[in-house]
Symmetry: C2
Subunit: 274 residues, 2 copies
C-alpha cells in the first residue's frame, strides 16, 4: 500500500479512485490527539475494502492513523477532522480489476465543523430519491455524486436534506443517518437500503440494544410524521454527533423526551462535548 | 479550467473527482489522427457538465482534443483511445459545491481494444441489479463502482455482463447499451433508466429514425428472449462499435437478418472498419 499525504503528495492520473470512484473513505473527528470512535472507523474501512476486494491490512491503517495524529494533532481540546481515502490504486482503462493493484491510502486534515445546536435543526427533503445501491449498499465509497447533488441549496438555517426512496420512505440525509421514535419503538432504515451505514448509527444501535430499547430496521414513511405515534426524528454522523430535527420543510416536528435523551446519549458515547 | 496530461502531470489530492466522483468522462476511439464521433462526445460532455453545474466551454474542449491528437496521434490506420476526464476541481471537505471551482480536464491516451468479431459474442447476467440513478441517469459520471463490480468474472469468451433493473428488465451492459429486435420493432430502455446514455446508442437511434424503423424506448424484460417475436440483441459502445449477442448465459439467442444489418450499419456510420 502507498501512503499519500495531502499536504505533500499528489496523485497519479491513472488512479482508479479518480477514474471510477473505486475506493472508500472515512472522516474521523479528532479531539487534540484522540480520534473518536477510531476502532469503528477502522473496522468499517477494512470490512468495506474486503467487499471491494481491495487488499488492506489493519496494522497499516492503524500505523498511518498514529502518524497522522502526530503530524496534524492540535493542542488538547482543539477538534479537527482526519480524512482517509483508500483507492484501489493505478489501473489501465476499463472497469475490470487490475491483476495486482497496489492500493493507495490518502491522508488529509481538515477543520472540524461545529456541533449543531442542542435545540435542534431544520431540514428539508432532497428533490431526488436516493438510488438503491445493491452491491455497494451502506458502503462509504467514493461514489458520492447523489449526495453532492442533493446538497445543493443547503444554506442559511437549513442543516440537512433528507433523501427518500422512490416510495416516500425516509432513508437518510446527505451526510447523516436517521432514527425515528414511533410509539415506544425506534425505527431506522435497514443497511440494504442505505447509501452509507454510518459509524454514529452503529453507536446509536448498540446503545439502544444495551438499554433494552425496541428497535426495528424498517423504512420510515414520510406520512408517519402526521401520526400521533410519531415522537421525533434524530440525525447523526460521526463528525458532528446526533441532532434533533425540529422542522421538516414547513412542518414543525414533535420532539418528545426520549428523542432528546437519545441525542444526549449518542453524543456522550461518542465523546462529544456540547 | 486546468488541463492535465496523464503522461506528465499529477492531481492535487483535494480534487473532487477523486473525493466524490464529482465529474465526467469520455472515451473516444481515434483512427490515426481522426477522433470518431467527436461532435457527439463533446456535446454529451458539455451537456452533462451543465447538469452538474461544472463550468466548461466548448472551445476549450475542442482545443484540448486537437492538442491531444497532435500529441498522441498514431500513424494513419493505427487506432487508439483518447480519454477525457472532467472534474469539478479542488474543494474543501464536504459535499457542498465550492463557490468558485476551477474544473480540471485530464487527458490520457490508451491502447484501442479489438473490435469484437462480427459473428457475435457470448454474455451473461451480472449478479446485482443496476441502481436507478435519478438525478444522474444516463450521465457518464466518475461514479462507476456498480460497473466495476459487475465486471468481475468477465474473462475468457464472456464479452459482457448485462445489468437488469430490480424487475428483471434488461437495461445495459457494464460498458454497452442494448437494442433488441421485437417483431418488426426495435426496443431500447429509456435514458431515465440508464447508467450511461451512450454515444453509439444515439448513433443507432438516429439511424433507425432516418430509416423509418419503429423504435420504442421501453424496458426489455428477460422473459422476452423466450418469445417468438424476439429476433435478436445488439450491444454497442463508441469504442468497439456494435456486436450481436449469440448467447446469454447458457441460452442461444436468435439473430435474425435485421439485427446483423443494424450491427453493420452502426459500425459503418461510426467509421469503424471490420
Amino acid at each position: 500500500m502507498d501512503v499519500l499525504w495531502a499536504d505533500r503528495d499528489t496523485l497519479p492520473l491513472d488512479d482508479r479512485g479518480l477514474a471510477y470512484g473505486d475506493g472508500l473513505f472515512e472522516t474521523i473527528r479528532v479531539q487534540g490527539a484522540e480520534p473518536l470512535l477510531s476502532a469503528r472507523h477502522v473496522q468499517r474501512l477494512i470490512s468495506d475494502a474486503h467487499r471491494l476486494a481491495i487488499p488492506v491490512e489493519e496494522a497499516t491503517i492503524q500505523s498511518v492513523m498514529r502518524q497522522a495524529v502526530q503530524r496534524y494533532g492540535r493542542s488538547p481540546g482543539a477538534d479537527w477532522v482526519l480524512k482517509l481515502m483508500l483507492t484501489r490504486g493505478s489501473g489501465g482503462r476499463g472497469y475490470r480489476l487490475p491483476a495486482h493493484p497496489t492500493p493507495r491510502l490518502i491522508v488529509s486534515a481538515h477543520e472540524a465543523p461545529p456541533i449543531p445546536p442542542r435545540e435542534g435543526v431544520a431540514v428539508a427533503l432532497a428533490s431526488d430519491p436516493l438510488p438503491q445501491e445493491f452491491a455497494t449498499a451502506g458502503m462509504k465509497s467514493l461514489n458520492r455524486l447523489p449526495q453532492v447533488l442533493a446538497s445543493q441549496g443547503l444554506e442559511g438555517d437549513l442543516w440537512e436534506h433528507l433523501m427518500t426512496d422512490g416510495d416516500g420512505g425516509m432513508l437518510e440525509g446527505t451526510r447523516t443517518n436517521l432514527l425515528a421514535r414511533w410509539g415506544d419503538q425506534w425505527l431506522t432504515p435497514p443497511v440494504a437500503s442505505l447509501a452509507v451505514a454510518g459509524v454514529a448509527r452503529s453507536v446509536a444501535i448498540d446503545w439502544l440494544e444495551r438499554e433494552g430499547e425496541a428497535l426495528r430496521e424498517v423504512s420510515v414513511p414520510l406520512s408517519a410524521i402526521d401520526d400521533d405515534r410519531f415522537q421525533g426524528l434524530l440525525l447523526m454522523n460521526s463528525v458532528t454527533g446526533a441532532v434533533v430535527v425540529t422542522r421538516l420543510g414547513s412542518q414543525s416536528l414533535p420532539c418528545r423526551e426520549p428523542v432528546w435523551a437519545l441525542r444526549d446519549a449518542i453524543n456522550h458515547r461518542m465523546g462529544l462535548n456540547g
